[in-house]
Each structure stands twice: as C-alpha cells, then as structure tokens.
C-alpha cells in the first residue's frame, strides 16, 4: 500500500509518498539522500544504519518507515549546524577515532544518545551501550577515548 507520511528529519518536515514495505533506511538514503545512513549487516546487529528517533538510537534497516509518521528523526547530517562540527564529531576527529569511517556515523549518534541519557557513564556503561556498534577496523580504544573527550566537551558546553 502507498501512503503519505511526514517525518521531521534533521529539523525539516519531509512529506513523502512511500510504500508500506519501505524501510526507514531506504527512505532516508534513497529518497532524502542522507548517505550517512548505511546498511551493513541488515539485521540490527552492527549499528551502521543507526539514526536517532525522538533522540533514541534505532536501527533504521529493519524499521518500517510507515510506522514513524510524525516522528523526529536525526541522522549524522543533522548534528552539525553547517558551520561547526557537533562536539561528538569534533571529539572523534581529535582522538582519530576513525579509520575507514564506515561505522562512524553510527558511533557518533550512539555516543550522543548515550551522553544525553547518561552524562557521566562508567567505562562499563560506555562499553555496554556501544556494544551494538561494530568497527571492523577495530578502532575501539580510540573510540572509547573519543567518548570520554565528547563527555568533557559536553560538560563544558553545558557549564558542568
């Protein structure tokens, strides 16, 4: 079935005619050209298709877009204001927490969601939260440092 939905994507309302069988990933990539949203495992295990829905991380590869009419979706493209990178992105750059960068959008969004939920996570909590994001270059040590750096940046932006 075809239906019209409106998604608030990266701060803009996008009204689209979609098919019930379209995944959110297909709509974001193929219709809205948001190519930071990447399909890899296809079953929600790897985290490369991570987006935020109402601020919470979700695997867009197995969600039906038709079920998210009216919801707020954030992809990596929506984090920066266009002039300056978002502080989580800055932290990943400064800590060199990427190599091939295929997984990076997912890690950045998951890190943002983690810090919004839990501004002072323990090492264990960081590992637990990010366990569902896989980096096949295995840059995990750098990524963990980037999360700590992002936490610091967030704290100073929020005035602690």
């Amino acid at each position: 079935m075809k239906r019209e939905i409106t998604l608030r994507v990266n701060g803009r309302d996008e009204t689209l005619i979609i098919d019930d069988a379209d995944t959110l990933l297909e709509v974001l990539r193929d219709r809205l050209n948001l190519w930071s949203v990447r399909e890899s495992c296809g079953v929600g295990a790897c985290g490369s298709c991570t987006v935020l829905i109402d601020g919470r991380p979700a695997s867009s590869c197995f969600l039906l877009a038709a079920r998210f009419d009216g919801r707020v979706v954030t992809t990596l493209e929506g984090l920066s204001d266009g002039r300056r990178l978002h502080f989580v992105q800055e932290a990943f750059v400064e800590e060199r927490a990427l190599q091939c960068a295929y997984c990076t959008p997912g890690f950045v969004l998951s890190t943002k969601a983690l810090l919004d939920e839990n501004p002072r996570p323990s090492d264990e909590e960081i590992r637990e939260y990010l366990a569902g994001n896989l980096c096949r270059c295995a840059g995990y040590a750098d990524i963990l440092r980037a999360v700590r750096a992002a936490q610091e940046k967030r704290a100073s932006l929020m005035g602690r």
Partner: protein, 283 residues
C-alpha cells in the same frame, strides 16, 4: 525496496485488530516491535500480504504497578523493562535478563509481547518469567482470558494463542519476601548473541529449607522449558546432594537440538553446569 509489497493495517483498538485478523486469516500477521518479523520478511524467509500493527493502538506499552504484582503491556519495549525502577526493585533477575538482549537499539524496539508470542526456544525473557509465575492476558474473538505462561509455549514458534487472538499483557505476581530468583545466560559466541542456553531459578525458603523451588530453561528444548516434578525438594535443605538430584531431573526433561551455539552433547553438559551455578547462587 527489499521487502515484497504488503499492506500495513493500523487498527485503533484491540477489537478492530481482532476483526482484521479474522478477516484476513492466514494472510495476516500481527506486528509489535517488528524486530524479528520485519527482518524475516526482508530476508524473504516469511511473507504476509497484511501486517496488523499493534503500535497504532494506544496504551499497550505501559508498566503498571498493581496490588499483587506488576502488569507489563504487550508493546512495552525491552529497554523500558530493563530500566523500570519498579521492575528493578521487585524482579531484579527479570530486569537483568532484559538488559542482556541484543543491543540498546534492539531493546529500544523489541517488545515483551512480541518476544513471548514469537515463542522462540532460546530467547532470554521466558525462563525468568516462567519461574516468577507470570501469566499472560489474551484478547480474541471470544473475549479475554488468562493463560499461565507455563501453559503458553506449545511447540517450536507455537503458542496457546488461538487464531485471531492477541497477547495483551503479562502479569507477574510479587514474590514473597523469603524468595529469590536468578537468571543466568550462557553465550557460546559473542556476548550480544542469542544464548546457547539460559537458566532461571527461583527459591522460597522457610527455616533454611526449600519451600518452593522452580527451574526453567531456554535453548535446550523446542520451547522455553518449565521443569516439572520438583516437589521432592520441598522441606529439604538445598545442599549438594539435593542439587545433584535436581540436575538429574533437568537432564531427563531437556531435549536439546544442536544449533550454531552448541551441539546436543554440549548443551546437555552446559545445562548441568549452569543449573548448578544458578542453584548455588541461591544457597
């Protein structure tokens, strides 16, 4: 489009959902969180021309504290159970079981009702819910009924739900103060994977003796498995002699089939190891 075209039907009430299921019969399937169903349809392992979406019905995703227990709506996500202060306080073993599933995104999407109705033999929630004496509420063409979770799992991916019947919520009674429950999962592959097996144990103790001892296992039979016939433990001290008898009882009732996470032989060995560990945690 990866998924073959289908119609998503969005009822506004349980009554309407049941009518849609009756109208479309085997061409329709209920979708709750959709984690499993949508993936299977993407992989073209399953196809239904109609999906009846329970997310369009309000009020199915709540955790309610009642006088004698906690009621968890079918559309409550794993993440909500895991992080619910009420669940953490009353049923720590359950909160912990839900916190181990997949990853945070999966737990944000997958639902308690979907998990139970899917009736996969190796999922984490059924064993701890079984030992806590949970029961489910079903709503269908003939009205509402309650089914003890013990009687709910009927076979591989088969439940006691009749055609057109929906799982509405699961109720878990508050356990007495002299009780404790644990859930242990053993993963043979990565930590986020489905478990090789899971063991839930529950013990009510009076004057140092077992009053009510319950065991349930996942991954070692075609359904989540409630272990029968443990009345012999009543009035006994939970010592190593009794644990050995309990292990034999478990061994007689499980019927594991080898899968990617362990052969039949291996699962039998690990069932003994983890039932023993679980019981020792209750000592």
């Amino acid at each position: 489009m990866t998924i073959r075209s289908f119609d998503l039907l969005r009822p506004r009430s349980l009554q309407e959902a049941v009518e849609l299921l009756q109208k479309h019969g085997e061409d329709a399937r209920v979708v709750a969180g959709g984690t499993t169903l949508v993936i299977l349809m993407k992989q073209r392992a399953l196809y239904y021309p109609y999906l009846v979406d329970l997310q369009s019905i309000l009020g199915l995703g709540e955790i309610q504290n009642e006088n004698d227990g906690i009621r968890i709506g079918a559309l409550t996500t794993h993440r909500s159970v895991e992080t619910s202060p009420d669940v953490q306080r009353a049923f720590p073993s359950l909160a912990q079981a839900f916190s181990c599933i997949g990853n945070v995104r999966v737990r944000q999407t997958a639902t308690v009702g979907g998990n139970l109705a899917h009736a996969d033999y190796r999922l984490d929630p059924p064993p701890p819910l079984l030992v806590l004496g949970a029961e489910v509420t079903a709503f269908g063409p003939k009205g509402t009924r309650t089914i003890a979770l013990k009687d709910f799992f009927r076979g591989m991916y088969e439940t006691a739900l009749e055609p057109g019947e929906l799982l509405v919520d699961v109720k878990i009674p508050f356990p007495p103060a002299n009780s404790r429950a644990v859930y242990l999962r053993y993963t043979a592959l990565s930590a986020n994977d489905w478990p090789c097996l899971g063991v839930a144990a529950y013990l009510e103790r009076q004057n140092g003796r077992c009053q009510d001892l319950r065991l349930a296992l996942g991954g070692v039979a075609s359904t989540p498995l409630w272990i029968d016939g443990l009345a012999f433990a009543e009035d006994q001290t939970l010592d190593h002699a009794l644990i050995d008898k309990l292990l034999d009882s478990v061994d007689r009732q499980i019927s594991p089939t080898g899968d990617l996470r362990g052969s039949e032989w291996y699962k039998r060995r690990m069932a003994r190891v983890f039932v023993k560990k679980a019981l020792e945690e209750l000592l």
